[in-house]
């Protein structure tokens, strides 16, 4: 099955989206859930996931807290903040506008 890189600029939106869906997740769960939801088409690079998460922490979009996984291992769990929720709405709006525009260009006869 072909796997694609995540288009630049959309990683934040995807992370925010999966966090909004399931509340609390650690890094691997976030990556996994993006892969699953995209039916394995989108592939999250670990090398971009963790810097992105740290930038989102700085921006105050997510909060992190240490917890324990089902296998009893320590893991950092990320959660959306109200600011993150607002950011998600904005990113989706913007994304839809861009995608709509691109689609119109492609489909123009």
């Amino acid at each position: 099955m072909p796997r694609d890189e995540i288009p630049p600029g959309t990683l934040y939106m995807l992370i925010l989206r999966v966090l909004a869906r399931s509340g609390e997740m650690h890094g691997y769960e976030i990556a996994k859930s993006i892969e699953l939801l995209s039916r394995d088409i989108l592939q999250v690079e670990e090398g971009s996931l963790y810097p992105a998460l740290q930038r989102m922490l700085i921006k105050g979009w997510v909060k992190a807290e240490w917890g324990v996984t089902v296998e009893n291992r320590r893991a950092r769990y990320y959660r959306l903040t109200p600011a993150g929720r607002k950011q998600l709405e904005q990113e989706i709006l913007q994304f839809e506008r861009v995608i709509g525009a691109i689609t119109r260009v492609i489909q123009a006869s």
Partner: protein, 929 residues
Amino acid sequence: MRFTEWLEELGRRVTTLFSGRAHFDHEMEEEMRLHRDLRARDLRDDGATAEEAYYSAQRRFGNSLRLREEIHQAWGWNWVDGLILDLRYAARRLRQSPGFTAIAVLTLALGIGASSAIYSFMDALLLRVLPVPDPKSLVVLKWHIATLDDSGPIGNRSVIHGRSGSTYDVPHLGHTGGIFPYPAFELFQRDDAPFLKLFAYYKTDRLNVMVKGQATVARGGYVSGDYFSGLEVVPAAGRLIAADDDQAGSAAVAVASYGFSQRHFGGPANTTGQTIVVNNVPVTIVGVTAPEFFGVDPGVSPSLFFPVHLNVRLEGIKPWGFKPAQYLDQNSYWLEIMARLRPGVTMTQAQAALAPRFHHWVETTATKDVERANLPELVLQEGAGGLDALRRRYSRPLYILLTLVAFILTIACANIANLLLARATTRRREIALRLSIGASRARLVRQLLTESVLLAFLGGAVGVGIAVWGIRFLMVLLASGRQDFTVIHPDLNWHVLAVAAALSLLTGVLFGLAPALQSSQVDVAPALKEIRSGESRARSSLSLSHVLVVSQIGLSLLMLVAAGLFVRTLKNLQAIELGINRENLLLFSMNASQVGHGGTEILSFYDGLQKRLAGLPGVRSASLAHTGLVADGNSSTCVIVPGKPVDDRTYYLNVGPAFFSTMQNPILFGREIDERDQLKSPAVVVVNEEFVKAYFDRQNPLGHHLTFGCMDAARDLEIIGVAKNAHYGDLRAEVPPVIYVPYKQSPVPSFEMTYALRTAGDPLAMAKMARDIAHQADPRVPVTDVITQTAAIDRTMGQEAMFAELCTAFAVLALLIACVGLYGTVSYNVARRTHEIGIRIALGARRGVVVWMVLRQVLALAALGLAIGVPVALATSKLIESFLFGMKPNDLLALTIAVLTLAGSVALAGYAPAWKASRIDPMIALRDE
């Protein structure tokens, strides 16, 4: 991004930074390890071998070091690392030239320290709010009126017939006051819609207070029933004054200040329920205020608070003291009023609601057309800082001082910028080298700026130490001997420290930016080729340094002119011909009426005391008057001289026998008041020269009669002597016409008396004996205001003395800094031109010519500085006109002295390097190549 968001983000960055980087990396590591392990497990589940899965998971992460670096960068830590590097480098550079560093740090420290000290006073005096809940909702009630001039034949021109309390002029708004008649207070209380509470305050006179048989004097305040509840303060013990206490006929109660209860009862717990005797009236203390509470006037800290209505009993005995009728008088203004706004009501709304009501009411109190045309209009002012008398008094002097220290700081900055410019030129090679191996100009500028900001912060740190000392010094100067200057405690709080830090940053950038920018503009190739670093022709840096020197000279001139004006003002004040001999004169005051002395008995009490004091060994003579002659209050009266128009610009002084010989105020004609002038003997008066000029056209007035007072308490007096003019009351005013009346015969009875002792030696040495004699006469009457006449006069010139001393110190400092800067610049120029000068000398230039060549440049700079400074000084000295005495702001002498001092200092600062230049040995200079 909004500022708050930026701030929150900064907060997160800083907290993470301070939680420790090792810990952070460790957590990052653990998080990623989990990720790799889980990924490997999933790959195994998909059928990969354990080894394959491990490496595949590992590979997906890529270079973990780069990842970490990226995350560090996201948090901004590389910036912090760079800063630390820059700081280390800067510290090393500063250590390399300790002389430069010491001079720079010291001059900056003086500038920043002085500014911070003065700012701390502004913070305490002008910006601090009352220590009560929600001070922002407090307002002060005031009025504006077109004119308050009630002199002249028409009499009252406003509804304000009598007033007790200060009023002041506000440019463009007319006269302003914060005092109201009691009926107006009741009016506002009736119509109190915009206010939660409305309350009133009135300062007491000095009170005689007996605590456990010990007599003291204290200041107090009368407060209305809603005062404490309106301010929403709670007592430290007992209860506070409530509405029931403030009724005519209520029990005599008081609330003590925390300080009073500690001084006299050892703390609030023992104070409640105690009875003290105030002005001969027993008063029960019902409570104690909290330690930080000082009332609503930052200038006065009352020891005792009484209900307003108690004033009739405490201070009603004077003829002009409080009579119950005054509560009904609509034209007598005395009560200060504050209020707390209802939540949601703005000050503007409250004023819009109340001003028409007050206008309507005050109109009904007018009886004449002139009064109706000139009605006071109600205005509301912010009350968070309480009443503003103290702020009004000190804001202008503080702003002037702040301007002066800002000048010093500017000069210091210019100076350091100049020194840095000179250093930058010697660093050209180093900078060129760094540029050539790839350093960015921005990075270099940042590094050079770090150096100057570090320098500034060192200066700021030392400056805070100077500020601590400066605050104490200023406290002494500003208080100028006033004992009640204790409410305000300027200190190094975080406001002041923040200002000092901000100043350091600002100055660091200011003096660092120009040299940093300039030195990063180095042209790499030629700079590297230079053999010696000083050889280059840095034209632009020279002209910038010239601008800096010229501006330093100009600013120094301004400060020298200001210092000259203030010193001359002080000298003029000190040179005022008093008309008496101020040396060896001891003054003190007593008020026997407050403990029940009265009628003719009080006369013999004061008389007996005078005789005993005059008999003391070491006392040449002793007398008394109802107020101190100079530097105290004064009393005016209306006087009728037959055949002359009545007016009330004459002043009177009730005096005892031997007053003139004690004060050494010469009698020109006739005799002085002496023991012959008793209660029952013919009533007499001594007048001064000014009085003779005003009423007798310089004719001999002896034997003529005058009537003292126009109302029922008038008395016919025969003129028996003419005294030489002597200042009475305000020293700055012209000597008014004065009549001196024996206090035993005066129609205006005397209550407080000021004794004057002419001593053989040091007057203060007699103070103890005088106190003992007074104590023997009546231990209930405390002796107050013990002071020598000289000190009493000096105290009235406190502000002028402060300006003269501070401004002189500042000007000397400014001049010193400017000269050091000039010396540095010229020396540097000479050093740079060593080669050229060597050639000139080798070719036969005489030493004098070389000296002149260097000096000419210095003098040209000075002339330019003066050419700019003199017009500016002339234009700006008008701003301090109200602080000057006996001279115009464009005083020629002050200006000349300033110009000469400056020119002399500059020539001196320039001569040393010029002389050095002339001593250059051409052989050495040329071989130096």
